[in-house]
Structure formats: C-alpha cells, structure tokens
Symmetry: C2
Subunit: 214 residues, 2 copies
C-alpha cells in the first residue's frame, strides 16, 4: 500500500507526523515561530484540529519534536561540510568546515534555525532533544581542539565563544534580515561567510592574542 499523504477515506492519514512537521516549517518561514498553532498545522495537513495529539501530545511537544529534528540536521550538515573536504585536509580546514556547516544549516533550514533561537518555546528537558542538541557543539569543540590542542582553559573558552558566537550571530542577522547589504546578492553573502570563517580560524590559531588583562 502506497502512502499518499492526503488520505482517501477519512481516517488514517498515513504520514501525519511528517505532514505536521512540514506544516510547522511552512508557518515558521511565513510568520515566525510564534505563529505556529496546532489548528493551523492541522489545517495545512488537511486533518482535523485535534489530530496532532496522538502524535505529539500538546503544542510544546510538536515544537520540541521539530527542534529535535533541527539539531539532528545541524549535526548532519556539519558532517556533510566535513565530507566535502579533500582527504587529509588540515584541522584548520576542518574547523572552517564546521562553521560553514552551521551557516549552511541556518540558510537551508531557516525554520529549524529560527526555532532553535526560541528556546522558551520548547521543552528543554526532553530526552531526545537533549541528546540531539549535544552533537553540534561537540563537533565544534573537537574541531577547535584539533586546531589548537594546547590552549589553557581560558584561552580555549574565548576561542570557542568567538567561533560559536560569530557564526551564530552571522546566521541570526541574516535570518532576521538585518544589515541587508550583506546578504544580497547571494554570492556576496557566500564571500562574506568565507572571509568570516577565515578570520575565525585565524583568530583561533593565533598564538596568544589574549592579553587584555585588567
């Protein structure tokens, strides 16, 4: 039996879980994470408004599942960026690839990225979410250690923060449309991103630039 989404009889949609998650993505892109309602998701999935309950429990459950999917995709996108590197690439290239993966995730999965920035909408104690959310940061962390293995805790923290914050900030500004002359045309955005990654890697590998003690 083929699963043809929109159902024939009235009961048993067949792929309702997926259809609801796709509806979440649509709504987030159109009107932002706060515009997501169970009723609108059900409407778009062509299903009665209470149909989400058996799959996700309540609204928060739906959004948490969506966010979990996002974290998984973020990790996958990072790994995919690593995979495009020629074999035997130096750790610097790998660190840049991790950042490139983050930026690509935010760009290719804007709905997941935008929900990622709304921690209060999801259940952060959810087990699946917690597990999925650990991966991306661990990947960045490992990549940094490969590049600069001998940093003391403080210098390491500073570089981790720089790398994470700038790549996240870049993606957030782009998603929000702030500083519009940075993002169009598309090639410019890519160029800015690459230059940004180069600066990050260079800052992460620079010998001891932390001297501003007060």
């Amino acid at each position: 039996m083929t699963v043809t989404a929109k159902a024939k009889g009235r009961h048993h949609h067949g792929a309702l879980r997926r259809a609801l998650l796709d509806a979440v993505a649509e709504i987030v892109i159109e009107d932002g994470p706060e515009a997501v309602t169970l009723r609108e998701c059900a409407r778009r999935a062509g299903v009665s408004h209470a149909a989400a309950a058996p799959h996700f429990g309540d609204k928060r459950g739906l959004l948490t599942a969506f966010a979990t999917e996002g974290e998984t995709r973020l990790a996958e996108t990072m790994l995919a960026a690593l995979d495009t590197l020629p074999g035997g690439s130096p750790p610097e290239a790998r660190l840049a690839a991790i950042g490139r993966g983050y930026i690509a995730f935010a760009r290719n999965w804007p709905a997941h990225f935008r929900l990622k920035c709304r921690a209060n909408l999801i259940d952060r104690t959810n087990r699946d979410w917690c597990e999925a959310a650990e991966r991306p940061f661990a990947l960045l962390s490992e990549a940094l250690d490969a590049v600069a293995p001998d940093l003391d805790a403080r210098a390491r923290r500073a570089r981790l923060t720089l790398a994470w914050a700038s790549v996240h900030g870049f993606s957030a500004l782009r998603a929000e449309g702030s500083g519009s002359d940075l993002w169009r045309p598309e090639e410019r955005a890519t160029m800015v991103a690459e230059d940004l990654l180069a600066l990050i890697v260079s800052a992460c590998t620079s010998p001891a630039p932390t001297r501003q003690t007060e």
Copy 2:
C-alpha cells in the same frame, strides 16, 4: 502638582506612556516579546485596557516605540563605554569599547535587546525607529575605520561582519541562556567578553588574513 503615577481620581494617569513602556519591559523579561499584550500592559499600569491607544495607536505602535527607546539606549551605552576610556586612548581601545557597550546594553537592558531581535514585531518603516537604529551601527563602523583605515571594501566588510556578528551572537546566546557554563559566575562572563573583544580587535587589525579565495 506632583506626578504620582498611580493617579488619584480615575482619569489622567500622568505618566502613562512611561508606565506602559515599563510594563513592556517587565513582560518581555518574564515571558518574552511575544507575551506582550496591550491588555496586560494596561493591567500592570493600573489602567483600563484601551488606554494605550491615545499614546501609541495600536500594539505595533507600542512595541515600535519600545524598540526605538532600545536603539537610543544602545547608542548611549556605546558612547558611555567610550567615555570610560582614558583620554587619548588608541583606536583599538575605542573599537573594543564599542563592542563592550553593545554587550553591556544587551545585559543591562535585556528586554530592549530581546525585542531588537524580533524585527517582525515592530514597524520598520517608522521614522523615529529608523533614525535611532542607524546610530549604533554607524558608531561601530566609524570605530573600525579608525582602526583599519586602508581596507578594501571586501576586507572591511568581513571585519565589520566579524565584529558585529560575534558581539551580537555572544549577547544573543547569553540572553537565551545557551551554553550556560559561559555565563556563570558573572566574573567569568565578563572575562569571556573581554577575551572575545581582544580577539575581535586583533582580527580586525591583522594585516591581511583574508586569503581563502576559491
């Protein structure tokens, strides 16, 4: 006649505009920008639910006014950070101070900062808002140019992006509570911020780290 906020008779609050803006800040801090409602603001200001209309028009007007106040305070906080520098400080110190001001703004005015990240909630065509929003970026831009006057357009754009994105990303992650071990205790957060600023300045002044052409 003293203006005692809560009014004596029933009409004429006296400082309703301010009281409503303060209510917005309270609600944003407690439950986020989306939780702001005209009725709840009026409730907290001790006033009937339709009282905001004469001052702000509609809900979007209230939020836009709040955001405008935020942009003004951001510029002020940046200037205040510049003012704490000893006279004749080098441009590098001034660039760091601008970043320090941004971070301080996000920390000291969390409600204004959080609303700043929700561009869709406000009226971006509002004249007052546009004017106020230009200042902070202009200050950063000038500070960068003072540090590195001879950059070509591309290198300049990359450094501007690095500076802005990392300071914004840092503040956003802190506001959202992500990566919690970075923010407590408070002294650690300050130290991480200072190290971050040093890395940014160092990256902005480094001669030609943009070589990743593809």
